[in-house]
C-alpha cells in the first residue's frame, strides 16, 4: 500500500478511503475517487455561498472604521451600529425574499413600490376607515399577498418574463398610489394621522415601529425593524436550507424543465415566492407606517433595484439557481454600511454616489475572490 503524498492532506484522505474499503487500493494506487475526497473545515466554510459576502461585510466595515472622521469614532460604537443596522434592516427584509425569488429564477420589479403601497393601505385603513391597527395589519398583509399572487399567477400562466409582468405591476401600483391617494386624501399625497385615538396603534407600534435596548450610551436604542430583519433572514435561511420547498427553489431556478420532469411543482413554487416577496413588502410597509405615522405616495419607488443589488452583492446569481438567504442579508448590511459610512467618513457628499459605486464594487470583488478560491480548493 503506497500512496504518494500529493498534498499535505493526502495521508488523511487515503486513510479514510482505506477504512471505507472502496478506495485507492490494489491496481491503481494513485487514483482517488474525487467524491470521497475529504475537505477540511476551512475549505468547507469557504465553499458556503455566504462566506464571500461575509468577507465583503467585514472588509467594508473595517474600511469605514478606518475612514471614520467623527470626533469620538462613532463607527465602532453602539451609535454607529444602530445607524447602519436600521438602514440595513429596511433593505434586508426585502433582499432576503427577493434573493430567494432570484434563486428561483424570477425578478420582482414591483417590490419597491409595494413597500410604499402597503404603507399607504395601512395608513388609509387606520387613518380614514378607523380600523383597529391590528385588523389593519391583517388587511395590509392580505392586500400584499393578493398582489404577490397576481404577479406569480400572471408570470406562470402567461409564460412572459417576470421582468415585464412585474414592471407592469410596478407602474400600475405607482399610478394608483398617486392618483388614488390624491382622490381619497383631498389633494394631498401624504396620508398622515390626524386626531389622537387610534385603537391598537400603540401596541402595533411597539411590535413593528419602535426601538429596544436603549441605554445611556445609546438613548434612541435600536429599531425593532432590526429584529424583524433577523427573523426574516433566519426564516429565509431555514426554508432554503432545511425544507423541501427550499430544494424546489434551487431546482426551478436552475432548470425549470428538469425540475418539472422530476416532479417539482414549478408553478406553485414560483407563485409562493412572489407571494412571500409581497408579504415581506407588506411587513416593511407596516413597519414604516408605524414608525412615521404617515405614508407618502410613491414611497418605495426606486428601491426595487437596491433590493436586487443587495441580493447580488450577497452572492445570488442574476441568472437564478444559486445564492443564499444569509448572503442576501449580508448584501443588505453592505448597502446599509455604505449609506451611513460615507456620512461618518465626512467625505464631500456631492461625491457620495461615486463612493457608493466603489464600495459596492469592492464588496463584490471580495465576494467573487473568495468564491473562486473556494471553487479551486475543491479540486
Amino acid at each position: 500500500m503506497e500512496v504518494k503524498p500529493q498534498d499535505p492532506g493526502g495521508a488523511d484522505r487515503t486513510a479514510v478511503a482505506v477504512a471505507d474499503g472502496t478506495g485507492a487500493g490494489g491496481a491503481a494506487p494513485a487514483r482517488k475517487d474525487e467524491r470521497l475526497v475529504q475537505v477540511g473545515p476551512l475549505t468547507r466554510l469557504m465553499q458556503r455561498p455566504e462566506l464571500g459576502a461575509l468577507m465583503g461585510v467585514i472588509a467594508i466595515f473595517l474600511i469605514f472604521g478606518g475612514f471614520d472622521a467623527t470626533a469620538n469614532h462613532l463607527w465602532f460604537t453602539q451609535t454607529g451600529l444602530a445607524a447602519w443596522t436600521q438602514q440595513a434592516a429596511f433593505y434586508g427584509i426585502m433582499a432576503v425574499p427577493v434573493g430567494l425569488l432570484m434563486i428561483g429564477g424570477e425578478f420582482d420589479l414591483s417590490a419597491g413600490v409595494m413597500t410604499g403601497a402597503t404603507a399607504i393601505v395601512m395608513a388609509l385603513l387606520v387613518g380614514h376607515l378607523h380600523w383597529n391597527a391590528w385588523l389593519a395589519i391583517v388587511g395590509t398583509l392580505v392586500f400584499a399577498a393578493l398582489i404577490g399572487l397576481l404577479n406569480g399567477f400572471v408570470v406562470v400562466k402567461s409564460k412572459l418574463p417576470s421582468f415585464i409582468v412585474t414592471l407592469a405591476t410596478f407602474f400600475v401600483l405607482r399610478g394608483v398610489s398617486i392618483g388614488g391617494v390624491l382622490l381619497i386624501n383631498h389633494g394631498s399625497t401624504q396620508v398622515s394621522l390626524t386626531g389622537t385615538s387610534f385603537p391598537g396603534l400603540a401596541s402595533a407600534k411597539d411590535v413593528f415601529g419602535s426601538s429596544f435596548a436603549s441605554s445611556s450610551s445609546l438613548p434612541s436604542g435600536y429599531q425593532t425593524e432590526v429584529l424583524w430583519f433577523i427573523a426574516v433572514t433566519v426564516l429565509g435561511a431555514w426554508v432554503l436550507g432545511r425544507t423541501t420547498f427550499g430544494n424546489w427553489i434551487y431546482a426551478v431556478g436552475g432548470d425549470a424543465n428538469a425540475a418539472r420532469n422530476t416532479g417539482v411543482p414549478v408553478g406553485r413554487t414560483k407563485i409562493l415566492l412572489f407571494m412571500s416577496t409581497a408579504l415581506a413588502a407588506g411587513l416593511v410597509g407596516i413597519i414604516s407606517f408605524t414608525q412615521a405615522n404617515s405614508a407618502v405616495s410613491e414611497q418605495g419607488v426606486g428601491y426595487e433595484f437596491y433590493f436586487i443589488i443587495a441580493a447580488v452583492v450577497g452572492g445570488c446569481l442574476l441568472t437564478g439557481g444559486y445564492g443564499s438567504a444569509v448572503g442576501a442579508a449580508l448584501g443588505a448590511c453592505i448597502i446599509g454600511m455604505a449609506f451611513q459610512g460615507v456620512i461618518y467618513a465626512g467625505w464631500d457628499s456631492s461625491w457620495d454616489f461615486a463612493f457608493l459605486g466603489i464600495v459596492l464594487f469592492l464588496a463584490v470583488m471580495v465576494n467573487t475572490f473568495v468564491y473562486r478560491r473556494a471553487q479551486t480548493a475543491r479540486r
Binding site: L74, G187, V296, S297, V301, Y306, S350
Partner: protein, 354 residues
C-alpha cells in the same frame, strides 16, 4: 394706458377674489364650476403647462392652481405635465425639453413652463417665443438673465437665492449660525437656496460641501444619496441623523422639502439639539410649527405659481401684450411662516391652496 392698467388689475383680482370668497365653502369644485360658467367664452385659448415637478405634496398644489385658474377663466389646458412623473427619481430635463417642443408643434396658444435647466431649455423656450407662442415661466429660472435670454413674458415664482438669504437672516436673528442645508435632489434652484443662506451668514457666496466647521457661522451642504429621497424621507433622514451625530456643532438644519423635515422631526424625537426649518408648507408643517418642533418655514405660495401663469397668458393674448412684471420676476415668495403667523396660512393649506 392708465385705464387699461386698471382694467388689468381688476381682471387679475377678480378670479382671486372669487377664490377667496369661495374658500370658506367646503366644496372647491362647486366654486370652480360656477366661475367656469360665468367666464366661459372669455378665454378661447389652449395652454400647455409643463414643469419638472413630481406628484408630491408641493407640485400637486401648483397643478391645482393651474387647473383652478383654467377652470375659473374658461381656458383649456392641453395637459399638465411634470417631467418627474414618468418613472424617474429625478426631474428629467430632456423629457421636459421635449415636451416644450411638442407644445410648439401642437401650436398651443401659450406655454407655462418651469425653466429647470436653463442651459438646455432657454433655447427651446426662445424658439417657442420666436414661433409667436407667449411663454410664462414659473417656479424655476426666475432670474433676469434667463428672462432676457428666452424673451419669456415674466417668471412667476420665488427667487431662490433671495429666499435662502431670508432664511439665513432668520437663523442669524435667532443666533443659530452653523447651518446644515439638506439637498434631496439635483437642481440649481436648490443649490441657490443654500447659497443664499451662506450669503446671509456672511460665509461666502456659496454653501460649502464636506465637513461642517467647528463653530459658526457656517453653511454646509449635505447631498442625500439614498434613493428617491423626497418620497422616501424616512430612509433619507437616517443620513441626516448620522450627519448630526458626527457633527454635534450643527445648530440649525434647513431642509428644502417638507417631507424631509417632517420625518427628521420624527427621527430625532426629543433628542433634537438643532433647530429645524424647511422650505414649503403642508398640514404636517403647520402642526410642527404650532407645537414648536419646527422653527420656521419658507412659503413660496405655489398655488399662485400655477394660477398666475394662466391669468398672465390669457391677459397677454387678450389685452394685446399687456403683462405684469414684464421681463422681471413676479414674486410669490419668500414668506417666512413661524409660530406667530402660522394661523394665517392654515386655511389655505387645508383647502389645498398652499
Amino acid at each position: 394706458m392708465h385705464m387699461s392698467k386698471k382694467a388689468l388689475a381688476a381682471l387679475l383680482a377678480a378670479p382671486l377674489l372669487l377664490i377667496t370668497a369661495c374658500s370658506s365653502s367646503s366644496s372647491s369644485s362647486s366654486s370652480s364650476g360656477t366661475t367656469t360658467n360665468a367666464a366661459s367664452g372669455q378665454c378661447p385659448y389652449t395652454f400647455a403647462f409643463i414643469t419638472h415637478g413630481d406628484n408630491g405634496s408641493f407640485w400637486s398644489v401648483v397643478y391645482k392652481g393651474a387647473k383652478d385658474g383654467a377652470a375659473d377663466l374658461g381656458c383649456k389646458l392641453s395637459e399638465v405635465y411634470g417631467s418627474q412623473q414618468q418613472g424617474q427619481a429625478e426631474p428629467d430635463d430632456n423629457a421636459e425639453n421635449a415636451q416644450i417642443q411638442d407644445a410648439i408643434n401642437a401650436h398651443v396658444n401659450g406655454i407655462a413652463v418651469s425653466d429647470h435647466d436653463p442651459s438646455l431649455m432657454n433655447a427651446t423656450i426662445a424658439k417657442a417665443v420666436a414661433a409667436g407662442i407667449p411663454v410664462v415661466m414659473l417656479n424655476a429660472g426666475c432670474d433676469p438673465t434667463d428672462l432676457a435670454a428666452t424673451k419669456a413674458i415674466t417668471c412667476v415664482g420665488q427667487p431662490e437665492q433671495v429666499a435662502g438669504q431670508q432664511a439665513g437672516a432668520q437663523f442669524k436673528s435667532e443666533g443659530v449660525t452653523n447651518v446644515l442645508c439638506v439637498i434631496h435632489q439635483s437642481g440649481q434652484n436648490l443649490l441657490d437656496r443654500c447659497n443664499g443662506i451662506a450669503q446671509a451668514l456672511g460665509t461666502g457666496s456659496t454653501c460649502s460641501t464636506g465637513s461642517a466647521p467647528k463653530s459658526g457661522p457656517g453653511c454646509t451642504e449635505l447631498i442625500l444619496s439614498t434613493p428617491n429621497a423626497a418620497s422616501n424621507p424616512q430612509q433619507a433622514d437616517k443620513q441626516v441623523v448620522s450627519y448630526l451625530q458626527a457633527h454635534p456643532q450643527i445648530n440649525a438644519v434647513m431642509t428644502l422639502n417638507n417631507a424631509i423635515a417632517g420625518a427628521l422631526i420624527t427621527a430625532l424625537g426629543s433628542g433634537a439639539k438643532a433647530k429645524i426649518a424647511t422650505f414649503d408648507l403642508n398640514s404636517t408643517v403647520v402642526t410642527d410649527l404650532q407645537n414648536g418642533s419646527l422653527d420656521f418655514a419658507i412659503d413660496q405660495q405655489q398655488y399662485l405659481q400655477g394660477y398666475l401663469p394662466i391669468v398672465t397668458l390669457m391677459l397677454y393674448l387678450k389685452a394685446h401684450g399687456n403683462s405684469v412684471s414684464p421681463g422681471q420676476v413676479l414674486d410669490t415668495g419668500p414668506l417666512i411662516v413661524n409660530k406667530n403667523n402660522v394661523s394665517t396660512v392654515e386655511s389655505a393649506i387645508n383647502a389645498g391652496q398652499d
